[in-house]
């Protein structure tokens, strides 16, 4: 488990999502990266139930329940800006029991799927973000396994990202700034995915609303 940077890759001009993903994977293969199966990260949104809201007089909070194929036995439950709970996959069943407190938002499931590449100690995952049936964007995750402190290896990661993504290189993820020199954890990766998914959801909402 190393330091991970998750970023969104904008779709190349005049190309589809699928074609841009292919361009990226080709670039990786040219670099000498080896294909190592596939990956999947999914996220489901839960509202706090109306009944509990009224009695406590709080604004409704969103909770995200996520899974990551890199940690197949775990389930991540996150609040925005809030704590992150790492539980066993049984947690999904528990959520069904907690219907009275948390209700699943309809058609809110968003996920990214793609191929996993290994290049030296780097793990690169290029995925297509889908919400329902439609592809909504591209996620690029780069993990540097040997290092566990984000601030230590950010310049090194940045150099790799510059080589790989060129002008689309992202800035440092916000989780890096908060962590200082603490040990990086899988939860930090999930927070980054959650932020990415929220960003993509918001982006998509505008044109969708326009069409309607």
């Amino acid at each position: 488990m190393g330091v991970t940077c998750v970023s969104q890759m904008s779709v190349a001009e005049g190309k589809s999502v699928q074609q841009t993903v292919e361009l990226l994977t080709q670039k990786l293969e040219m670099l000498g990266a080896e294909k190592q199966g596939t990956f999947c990260v999914d996220c489901e949104t839960y509202h706090t139930a109306a009944s509990t809201l009224g009695s406590q007089g709080q604004a409704g909070k969103l909770m995200y329940v996520m899974h990551n194929s890199e940690y197949p036995l775990s389930c991540f439950a996150l609040f925005e800006n809030g704590p992150c709970l790492i539980a066993d996959t049984n947690f999904d069943v528990l959520m069904v029991k907690l219907k009275g407190f948390f209700q699943s938002a309809k058609a809110s499931k968003i996920e990214t799927r793609g191929t996993r590449y290994q290049y030296c100690d780097f793990l690169v995952k290029v995925g297509t973000v889908t919400m329902g049936p439609s592809a909504r964007g591209i996620s690029v995750e780069v993990e540097y396994g040997p290092c566990v402190v984000a601030s230590d290896c950010w310049s090194l990661l940045l150099e790799f990202l510059q080589n790989f993504l060129g002008s689309h290189t992202p800035g440092a993820p916000t989780v890096f700034a908060n962590r200082h020199d603490a040990v990086y954890s899988p939860a930090d990766t999930m927070v980054q995915y959650m932020e990415l998914f929220n960003k993509i959801r918001k982006q998509q909402q505008v044109p969708v609303a326009g069409i309607r």
Binding site: C120, C147, S155
Partner: protein, 311 residues
Amino acid sequence: MADVLSVGVNLEAFAQAISAIQALRSSVSRVFDCLKDGMRNKETLEGREKAFIAHFQDNLHSVNRDLNELERLSNLVGKPSENHPLHNSGLLSLDPVQDKTPLYSQLLQAYKWSNKLQYHAGLASGLLNQQSLKRSANQMGVSAKRRPKAQPTTLVLPPQYVDDVISRIDRMFPEMSIHLSRPNGTSAMLLVTLGKVLKVIVVMRSLFIDRTIVKGYTENVYTEDGKLDIWSKSNYQVFQKVTDHATTALLHYQLPQMPDVVVRSFMTWLRSYIKLFQAPCQRCGKFLQDGLPPTWRDFRTLEAFHDTCRQ
């Protein structure tokens, strides 16, 4: 044991043999007396000759008789083999067919050879102990002059001394924690944790470092039964490379007379890896080359280089 016993049994034969020798000597001297006296005290020449010959014959007969007796006794006495310098192998010298099987002479030759060999080996080991075993060139003369009376066997330092040296080094570098254990007898094993960057397993023999394995900060350094895993290598290429470089460093830092200095220099060098992911290469200025950060640290300046940039 058998020899001693048989000698004890034949002591009587010995005594008889000695008296037989005395008898032989006296009979031989009688022969010469008779010859010295010549022919005399007889009237006629013929009578004189006859008497002389008869007398001479008698004497020779008695010599012959005594000789036979001695021979018979000598068989009874047996071989006093313990008197040979080569013990039982000395019996080979009694082999009558010397020309066909020159075993004994060959044996003596071999014995001389092995004696010589032992002598020369002793001289050589004496000379070698005076010389330093240093494998790298610099400071050779200096160290030899500075410590002329250095002990040749620094391998047998007391464990307490090793503990002291290690704990002093531990206190020297705050970002480095050293955990010493002795799972197998007196040889110490160190688990060095360098910041949040890497862990190093150091296998010591007294104060000499035998082997190092570099692993990631989060990697498991223990085997299933809770012992330090000194055999398996890191899963990450960068730490495999650092392991190689650390092994090179072990060969570089060699000073048999002052093993504590060696350990300290090695740890100082190792400490420079605290910036493994943060320091760009001093030659090409980049972080990555073939997907690896600068893994080499110069032995004197401790500057970071890529493996291929370091010349």
